[in-house]
């Protein structure tokens, strides 16, 4: 490839366009105008205009000059070089920073023109690499032709390789096939499980706040009694029974509000939900008033997340969402099937290239020592609170109150120990975690970016560790593993990782073709 394009080999380091300095200066001035304006109005308002201006003006000029000087020095020290294998950018006045981006990692170059640079005929070039944390390299500013040249050059570098790669794995999929759909009945069932506690709380809060607007006292049960009794007066004779009826009616009203809110909200969001497999990936359409249409490219799926709830688990309902490459952040919600039975989820998982855990996996538990330590730490904090209340409160028995959350915390740790599981299969990692709303992460052994083994002081003494994987667009962490397990997992995953390169799993090349067309 270098033979064809000898012009681009080893360019000398260049500075950005000299007019950059003009844009920076103009930006700086506009940013200074408002503060100076405000300051001068407040300061010079007191009369004595002449005197103050004499002191004020040189100071302002000095600040501006200093800013200009720094900007100029920074400009002289920022250079970029288009080299044979990478782009190299060096910058910094006091601290020096040198960044190298291999061409293989650049997915695309985007050129952006804001108003001011546009007036000066300059562009900002951004090299998109799919790095996590939005840490892409930017070059501000370049002449328009130079920006175009860089973009063409990088696309040429990429295409030579990617066209061959695409021909090798030409997609042979059907036009579209419905993987999952939710008829109205399913949406309604889903809505019932989406009981909205928030709506109940808001209604309760509103009732409390806006009580004065009502012509009667909301929480005055005796008043309710009279109103319910009506002209007959017979109900008031029932006394406590009527009170109980009043409370029951209030609870029923709140419950009805909660359920209705849940159903309506779910129907608005999930109406006519359908997930199809198309050539470009999984296509999801849903919504009643605002209908959304989203395509999730299959090669960008990094992991799957299987979620459920305390109650819906009893009825076998699960939700499946995909974790996708970081650059898809704009559409962060990637629910592939929000409310489905396991049997319906299996084919969706298969369509994304993942699989639900097969039978006969070697499921490992959380380290019991990790659970005991966590329970002791959390419990002892609440026990401390309890002791403080016991000593200082006039009502010593209140000291027993923090013991209730203490017991809940301990119960949770026991539950986590009983039900948290993780397993490693030939291609995938499975980790189940959670108490009331457990979820299962399904990761691929090759679609991970890094492995971190972390241990606190207690964990080191007691021989357990947290294992955290770098996952593009999500997090994958297993807490409290036995140390030997964690080390064995790390070794196994690293061996899988080393067998593939990022460019093979990101599917960057086909995407760029689309955006370029």
């Amino acid at each position: 490839m270098t033979a064809i394009q000898p012009a681009i080999a080893m360019d000398a380091p260049q500075r950005t366009h000299p007019r950059t300095f003009a844009v920076k200066a103009a930006t700086m001035l506009t940013q200074l105008v408002i503060p100076i304006g405000v300051a001068s109005v407040t300061i010079l308002d007191d009369g004595d205009l002449g005197d103050l201006a004499v002191y004020f003006l040189p100071f302002v000029l000095l600040v501006i000059a200093a800013n200009f000087a720094v900007a100029y020095l920074q400009w002289t020290r920022l250079t970029y070089a288009v080299r044979e294998n990478d782009i190299r950018v060096e910058s910094g006045l006091l601290s020096r920073a040198a960044r190298s981006i291999p061409y293989e990692r650049i997915q695309d170059v985007s050129l952006e023109q804001k108003l001011l640079p546009r007036l000066f005929g300059l562009v900002e070039a951004k090299f998109e690499t799919g790095a996590g944390g939005g840490d892409d390299l930017k070059l501000a500013y370049l002449a328009e032709e130079e920006g175009d040249r860089l973009r063409e050059l990088i696309r040429a570098r990429r295409d030579g390789r990617s066209i061959a790669a695409e021909l090798a794995e030409a997609p042979t999929e059907e036009a579209s096939e419905t993987l999952f759909a939710m008829p109205p009945r399913r949406v309604f069932t889903f809505g019932l499980f989406e009981f909205s506690l928030a709506a109940v709380a808001v209604l309760g809060g509103l009732a409390q706040q806006l009580e004065f607007l009502l012509p009667f006292e909301l929480w005055d049960l005796d008043g309710w009694q009279e109103r319910l009794a009506g002209p007959g007066q017979w109900l008031s004779g029932l006394g406590p029974l009527a009170k109980a009826a009043g409370i029951a009616i209030a609870i029923a009203t709140l419950a009805w509000v909660g359920v209705t809110t849940g159903v309506v909200r779910t129907a608005l969001r999930e109406w006519d939900f359908r997930l199809e497999r198309t050539e470009k990936g999984l296509r999801r359409r849903r919504g009643l008033l605002t209908r959304t249409d989203l395509v999730m490219p299959v090669h960008r799926v990094q992991a799957l997340k299987l979620t459920t709830g305390f109650l819906r688990r009893r009825f076998g309902w699960y939700g499946l969402s995909v974790v996708s490459l970081a650059s898809d952040k704009a559409s962060s919600n990637h629910e592939a099937a929000p409310f489905a039975q396991i049997g319906e989820i299996v084919p969706i998982a298969a369509a994304t290239g993942f699989a639900l855990p097969p039978e006969g996996l070697d499921w490992k538990r959380r380290s019991p020592r990790a659970s005991i330590d966590s329970a002791l730490i959390e419990g002892s904090i609440l026990l401390g609170v309890s002791a403080l209340v016991f000593v200082f409160s006039p009502y010593a028995w209140n000291g027993l109150l923090p013991l209730v959350p203490g017991a809940i915390v301990a119960l949770r740790q026991y539950y986590l120990y009983r039900f948290d599981r993780h397993a490693l299969s030939g291609r995938f990692l499975y980790a189940r975690h959670g108490w009331l709303a457990p979820r299962m992460m399904i990761g691929s052994r090759v679609k991970l970016q890094s492995v971190e083994l972390a241990q606190g002081p207690l964990a080191r003494r007691r021989g357990y560790a947290d294992l955290r994987f770098g996952l593009a667009g999500g997090s994958f962490e297993i807490e409290g593993m036995e140390l030997e397990d964690a080390q064995a997992w790390r070794q196994a995953v690293l061996e899988s990782l080393s067998s593939t390169d990022f460019s093979e799993i990101s599917g960057a090349a086909p995407d760029m073709e689309q955006s370029g067309a």
Binding site: P102, A131, R161, A454, P457, G470, S475, F502
Partner: protein, 154 residues
């Protein structure tokens, strides 16, 4: 791979840490002096603990931190170990590196040191930093990783 020995950082890093801590200690001592002047009586009640802490910071801490850190580059993986109380042991295969930074702060320039930072596509550990390398070593590692990426994608 847990048995493979780690490469220690450049010895100048310990000296640089000591200088950094010395600056912090000076600030602390200044604050302590101000407190001593502001609070009448009990001369030494603030100074003594601050001086003891500063001494620990200057004598013990740099070596502990230096000893706690290390890296290795075997099998085309960058492994970075750090942390005195909370240990963290991170491995990034070269094939997952997005781009590479070699940074030098003002102090690092004085000691000819550099910080190597590799960026990955992961949301967790999006960038992994390795401070305290000799500048020449950092540049050499960068070239190694870059060469590995280039070879793997061809």
């Amino acid at each position: 791979m847990d048995d493979t020995p780690l490469t220690p950082l450049d010895p100048a890093y310990a000296t640089m840490l000591r200088l950094q801590f010395a600056i912090a200690a000076l600030v602390l001592l200044g604050a302590a002096t101000a407190a001593e002047i502001a609070i009448p009586g009990y001369t030494g009640a603030v100074w003594l603990p601050v001086i003891l802490f500063s001494l620990w910071l200057l004598i013990r801490m740099p070596m502990r931190r230096y000893a706690a850190r290390g890296y290795s580059l075997v099998e085309e993986r960058l492994r970075v170990v750090r942390g005195i109380l909370f240990r963290s042991d991170t491995v990034v295969p070269f094939g997952r590196v997005q781009h590479i930074d070699v940074n030098q702060g003002p102090l690092e320039r004085v000691f000819h040191l550099a910080t190597l930072t590799v960026h990955t596509a992961g949301t967790h550990n999006a960038s992994v930093s390795l401070p305290g390398l000799a500048h020449a070593d950092a540049v050499a590692i960068r070239e190694d990783i870059r060469a590995a990426i280039r070879r793997d994608t061809q």
